[in-house]
Amino acid sequence: MSQRHGPVTAAVITGSMPEMDNDHGPLQHHFDDMAQQNESAALGMWLFLLTEVMFFGGVLTAYAVCRYLFHDAFAEGASHLDVQMGTINTIILIFSSLTMALAVRAAQMSKTKLLVGLLIATMVFGGAFLVIKGIEYEHKWVEHHVPGKYFQYDGPMANQVHLFFSFYFTMTGIHALHMILGIGWMIWLTIRSWRGDFSAAYFSPIEMTGLYWHFVDIVWIFLFPLLYLFGAGAGAGH
């Protein structure tokens, strides 16, 4: 499904599938030199991120329309989200972005141990984000705010609040899946880093994974105010 394509593409684009690399080293046969290969990989990754922009863009458009139509109900739904947890998660994700950026830097400087450490730190932050997300989901489950058969809401606008939670779970769910796959991919990268596959001469896979991870971070930077903070203040329109 959709969410799985991210890191897989990242994997294939970066040309870092091991069985393919054994014979040729990092330079693939159809490229003239490493520069051409790296630039192609970067360009491919950016194009892939473009498709991701439009992918999330589709849901965001749907969200914008429904929020425009059912403004008050969405504000009410949003007020049931846990702003504290959302904020903590935002901070955690920014930390993970920093460690990821530094990981790329470590690879550029051929500091293998630092690279491994930073990759692990990034995964730990990512994992923490998912754990907190899971706790939130669990709360929603207990409160019967998960859309579908078991949804219960005792308010006048139950239908539209249901719609809000549909968006909440769709958007954060797709985002979380992107993270899970990013972490899965990073585990593999960590092993390869430990083996010393990357250095200033060849760090394209690390760089591409960084781009992907930062993109996932950016998505959250938008999701957080759009979902969590909508019902937070006087902005609810009451």
């Binding site: 003239d32 520069a35 922009v53 930390f95 909508f230």
Partner: protein, 124 residues
Amino acid sequence: MSHDAHAHDEPHIVPLSIYLAIFGALMIGTALTVWVAVFDLGEYSWLHTPLALLIASAKATLVVVWFMHVKYGSRLVWIFIFAGIAWFLVLIGITVGDYVGRNWEPAPNAWQAAVEAPRSSELG
């Protein structure tokens, strides 16, 4: 053959201080987002959403330009990014425009209005 080649031959290593500065700015941005969201803007409460999006866009820009190294990348990457943003704005702009526009009818014509009558001045 790569024509704008050799931009990548030597990795451009960004100083640690820049990363930390960006990180700090992102943290401040996060705090600002939360603060603005709970701040009572009185009759300007409709500004909450535009402000939140503005701050989020600023944060995203920082991530893209420095964490994602676009500042040091090729012009092509800039073009791609702007294309992505432009296409997304077309999609969301015209689609939301349809819903907003349904309340404007060419003639005084009460039957025509949609269920989604204007609710408040705040745009989604």
